[in-house]
């Protein structure tokens, strides 16, 4: 209910602000003509609030790209890049104000997207109204691409409804005696989690895997014990949980409390958050959990090694958050379009968008290409936790582990 209300409010705000912005956007044409002036690239990220973890990681990704581009002589005509990053506080209204300010007040030359479908939904509308190219690092909800936008591109391998496809097909193609017979789909009411789980269910149903439980819960419903108990009563072979972080962790705990272990367990988002996930549920408990992921730090995609090295140099640690890699890839896509067309002119951004529709871009996530609506046309990687470490198991050419564990063994490694 609250989500609906904020969505309505955000829509109203977008409309009002975009209308207000329309009158004033002719003054920006001759923005940065002076030769040495940096190219200003604007983004607003959720650096505080509910999405602050991915938001901060995305900021790091953009900064890694900024420094790498500048070290290699700049983006275009020898002009360096200057990122202008605002904090939207994970708020749908603030982000609309932020992108309007970036366009009309800060007069940025180019835009980059923000984090989560929920925020990209209104932010991309501001960009579209101002006819600015909008490449986003997250925001795979199918509804984003059903609005007929011309300037919106998603810089991951596939939209949410296809996120679980590779894994679902792998399970569906298992030999008869190993293939699960029944499945449960507890899912968070979220524009990303829900289509992912529905996409998997579709493939499973075709393969004859019967749905014994499908329920949606809200983020403010803390009664995951009740859900775990209902799932236990139906005893499914496989549980597919469309989750973000907290509820995903909560459901794993609730299943453990209910002492129910499905043979196979798949979760969206939460297991891809590395250390945070294994700390929250315990390293032993992670053994064999499947998830989808866009990036692997071991991948041999062009430029990945340099990106990982630079990330570690700038921010330390051994882990490279997936969200930082996605942001970096997003900037790579923008860079490819700018170099392909040879312009950053605010009046010629449609050419940049058209270029992306016609070309494939090599990124650290692998080659990306898009359909008319800006939907990526690739496939996600499948990850699995093995001996306390997140590994890539599918597709084979990207795998970092030579085995796929048959299922979830939360008592620890072993069988």
């Amino acid at each position: 209910m609250r989500k609906l209300r904020s969505l309505v409010l955000a829509t109203l705000a977008v409309t009002a602000l975009a209308a207000a912005g329309c009158g004033g956007d002719d003054d920006s044409g001759g923005g940065g003509e002076a030769g040495g002036e940096p190219v200003k690239i604007g983004a607003s990220l959720p650096l505080t609030g509910e999405f602050s973890e991915p938001g901060k990681a995305a900021k790091q990704g953009y900064e890694v790209w900024e420094s790498m581009v500048n070290e290699s002589g700049g983006l275009i005509d020898g002009r360096k890049v200057q990122m202008v990053i605002k904090d939207d506080g994970s708020n749908q209204n603030t982000i609309v104000a932020d992108y309007n300010a970036l366009i009309s007040k800060d007069k940025v030359d180019l835009l980059l997207g923000t984090f989560s479908s929920l925020l990209n939904l209104p932010a991309s509308a501001v960009a579209e109204r101002n006819r600015m190219l909008y490449v986003e690092p997250a925001g795979g909800a199918p509804e984003l691409f059903d609005r007929g936008f011309k300037y919106l591109f998603f810089a991951q391998q596939a939209t949410a409804d296809k996120q679980g496809e590779v894994w679902a097909n792998y399970i569906a193609d298992l030999p008869e005696n190993e293939r699960p017979k029944t499945a449960a789909y507890p899912t968070l009411d979220d524009p990303f989690a829900q289509p992912t789980s529905e996409g998997i269910e579709e493939i499973f149903t075709k393969a004859g895997i019967e749905t014994v439980y499908r329920e949606t819960y809200t983020i403010d419903n803390p009664n995951l014990d009740g859900i775990a108990s209902a799932i236990k009563a139906r005893n499914p072979d496989v549980v597919v949980n469309g989750a973000t972080f907290e509820d995903g962790v909560g459901l794993v705990r609730a299943l453990r409390k209910a002492d129910f272990t499905p043979k196979i367990f798949y979760q969206t988002t939460a297991p891809s958050l590395g250390d945070q996930y294994s700390k929250a549920i315990g390293a032993d408990t992670t053994e064999g959990i499947f998830y989808a992921v866009s990036h692997s730090k071991e991948a041999s995609t062009p430029g990945n090694e340099e990106f990982v090295a630079k990330y570690r140099e700038m921010f330390g640690g051994t882990e490279v958050p997936e969200d930082a890699a996605d942001a970096y890839a997003t900037a790579q896509v923008l860079q490819a379009a700018v170099e392909g067309v040879g312009t950053i002119d605010r009046e010629r951004q449609l050419e940049l968008a058209d270029w992306l529709r016609e070309n494939e871009v090599d990124t650290i996530l692998g080659p990306l290409s898009w359909d008319e609506a800006g939907r990526p046309t690739g496939e996600f990687l499948v990850g699995q936790w093995q001996s306390g470490v997140p590994e890539i198991v599918l597709p084979e050419e990207a795998a970092t582990s030579d085995k796929i564990l048959p299922g979830w063994t939360p008592e620890g490694a072993g069988n």
Partner: protein, 294 residues
């Protein structure tokens, strides 16, 4: 049948915790006619303090109650004297606005101190359960429920067996009369408010183990707690307990038989129906705003 029993037991366990949280709210209302909208924020504040204690010392969050209750009691007493006492003669609407303001302020402070991200306290037993036949009883809920019962019983004993309790009840039923027989109603009110906040402290420590929380979580809690005390009959302690158990069971039954997306809505529908049939609430009597009549 197993499923039904399981839902019933989980509902009762969680209802026990709700009861403790609602007790303080209904007490404050009964004695002072103050609808304390900040009650949820006190609870989340206690949860954050528990989290910090647990992080720093590894102390069991339920044992932290021993520290938290007096700290929250003192905090409540100071807060009452600083903010609520000056508006005691103002209409109840003023206290709603004031305590809502306090809730917003606390939310901001908690965001600045602990950050606007989700926290949870995870003692070693929090993924474990007791198993009785087919039924599982999560240890965290069982311990939380037991502690809640102990705190509630002590609260009940204080109200019914001690001089302070009699003074509190006297102030609730008839403030002028209480003054006449030598009860200092103003200081009793301060103590009642402090007791209410202290009970939120104990409840917050328990809730920190059961649910993840962030500064904004207090909205969700105050909505639920107001629902409970309205259901039970405002100002009635036994009513709050019964209302809390009903709401806890209603939530779990909804999750089990209707669907989890309705879990936040259906219990309020239940409250709505009860109020249509019995506007004074389950144990409330018309025009009586007393505490612990039994």
């Amino acid at each position: 049948m197993t499923e039904f029993l399981q839902a019933l037991i989980l509902g009762l366990l969680i209802g026990g915790v709700y009861a403790l949280l609602a007790a303080g709210l209904t007490l404050i209302f009964g004695v002072m006619n103050v609808i304390n909208i900040a009650h949820g924020a006190f609870l989340i504040l206690a949860a954050f303090i528990t989290w910090s204690l647990w992080r720093a010392t590894g102390v069991d969050p339920l044992a932290a109650i021993v520290v938290l209750t007096p700290v929250m009691f003192a905090f409540g007493w100071l807060l009452y004297n600083a903010t609520i006492r000056p508006i005691r003669k103002a209409p109840p609407a003023a206290s709603v606005l004031l305590t809502f303001g306090i809730a917003l302020l606390l939310e901001g402070i908690m965001g600045a101190v602990w950050g606007n991200t989700s926290h949870s306290v995870r003692p070693s037993y929090f993924t474990q359960s007791f198993q009785i036949g087919e039924i599982f009883l999560p240890k965290a809920q069982v311990f939380g429920g037991l502690v809640a019962i102990v705190v509630l019983i002590s609260l009940y004993l204080v109200l019914t067996r001690s001089w302070l309790g009699r003074a509190i009840r006297a102030s609730a039923v008839n403030p002028q009369g209480a003054e006449l027989v030598g009860v200092n109603v103003a200081s009793v009110a301060a103590l009642t408010f402090a007791i209410g906040v202290a009970s939120a402290g104990a409840g917050g420590a328990i809730a920190s183990v059961l649910y993840p929380f962030l500064p904004g979580s207090h909205y969700q809690w105050i909505a639920r707690l107001l629902g409970i005390i309205v259901l039970g009959g405002m100002g009635s302690l036994p009513g709050a307990v019964i209302g809390a158990l009903c709401l806890g069971v209603a939530e779990l039954m909804t999750v089990t038989y209707i669907g989890p997306e309705w879990a936040t809505g259906v219990p309020y529908l239940f409250v709505f129906i009860v109020l249509l049939l019995r506007p004074q609430g389950l144990l409330g009597t018309r025009l009586r705003q007393d505490v612990a009549t039994a």
